[in-house]
Subunit: 211 residues, 2 copies
DNA sequence: CTGGTGATTGAACAGACGTTCAACTAAGCT
DNA sequence: AGCTTAGTTGAACGTCTGTTCAATCACCAG
């Protein structure tokens, strides 16, 4: 019985990189900052330590790649849900509901994200990844808000600032809920954002001043 | 010339702990997560490594203490500014202005905070510190909002949720600004929050539903 | 079947980490 | 002055870190 089952299968570089990024995400979600370790990630992926430095030059490059892939995965999932909605009002509500879905409202996900945040100030590569994905996120929200204002005939004086406000509220709610899910529910968070939209409809951002 | 200047001055435990916490903050602000290191903090404080474990049982206890002291320092500073204002409207504006003052809007401060966040899920002690200070923060905002609604005669259906919303917006704006101060200014952030208050005045949180 | 290419391995290395503890000493007491 | 107390020291220890690199081996082209 000579089942020639090779012990160490070779993989296409792209496939291997994908596996390693997935293992990195599992380690970061489980162990937080301590998950950034060639040995831990290699063990998690069932692979030798040397392979990490073979496919990525350093562990920092691995982390940066992981950041980029996760960010794009989340935004594309959100985009798909938006596209299935019809009216601008339905689109923005789909966006909000997607933002409070279990896929996003996951303490482990924040654990991963916090590690990225902590690296932004010390890694030019990670910093650029953040800026790019945040800009795309903001543009998406601006589009949604502009569409809503146009279809319902109310005024937003500075859509950019309004979009920054909504994204900040979403980020803040997500952050606080992940740090302590007991304080409020995902449904509460969704309600708070809908109230923000209600304020927008009532002219909260209609003029330059705030009187 | 026998200046009997002792090389290693003794200090009261409380004073020494304060020095060590201050050194910890400098290290965290400068080096981020890499700043959590007995050797680094000891060098920064001009002290031996053994002294850290003498005054705090472990480095984790030092971090938790640092968290608590920083949080209380920030909130008491904010409280002082609020107390100097007269009317409820002025109080809440003082709170917002204090939240966007240079003392708070400091990327280094976020660097410190992000390290704390990353430890919440893995340290029961840090987690409890967070819950306590967030609860106090929320209560402060609730008071301000209740006072404003009472004095101006408008309705907030659920003050708790409204307070969670405002705190989330503040956290989100602070976070995003610290990660990339180029996107918007502190004045922009202040304006966005004032618009949120305007929406509140216009009944964004006046009813249970959002129609 | 035979080379050759490159994906994969893991021992080796130098350095940093947190903690421990016996020795030292500064300061307050009698 | 001498004694006592406790703040302070830093070498030592074992464990972890990221990176390197020669050896190995899976797979494909010939």
């Amino acid at each position: 019985m000579t089942t020639d089952a090779p012990k160490n299968r070779r993989a296409e570089p792209e496939d291997r990189r994908e596996m390693l990024v997935a293992a990195t995400l599992r380690c970061l979600g489980r162990d937080g900052h301590a998950g950034i370790s060639v040995r831990r990630i290699a063990t998690e992926a069932g692979v030798s330590v040397g392979l990490l430095n073979h496919h990525f030059g350093s562990i920092e490059a691995l982390i940066a790649d992981t950041y980029q892939r996760l960010a794009s995965e989340l935004t594309t999932a959100l985009l798909q849900e938006i596209e299935q909605a019809q009216t601008p009002a339905q689109k923005i509500d789909a966006f909000l509901e997607g933002s409070f879905s279990p896929r996003v409202m996951d303490p482990k996900l924040l654990g991963v994200w916090v590690v990225f945040w902590s690296l932004i100030r010390h890694s030019e590569h990670v910093s650029q990844s953040h800026e790019k994905s945040y800009r795309a996120y903001l543009d998406l929200i601006r589009q949604l808000l502009d569409g809503l204002a146009a279809s319902e005939g109310f005024v937003i004086h500075d859509t950019r600032l309004a979009a920054i406000g909504l994204s900040a509220m979403l980020d803040g709610l997500w952050l606080e809920w992940c740090l302590n899910p007991e304080t409020f529910s995902a449904a509460n968070g969704l309600h708070i954002c809908r109230c923000w939209i209600k304020g927008l409809r009532h002219g909260a951002f209609s003029t330059d001043d705030v009187l």
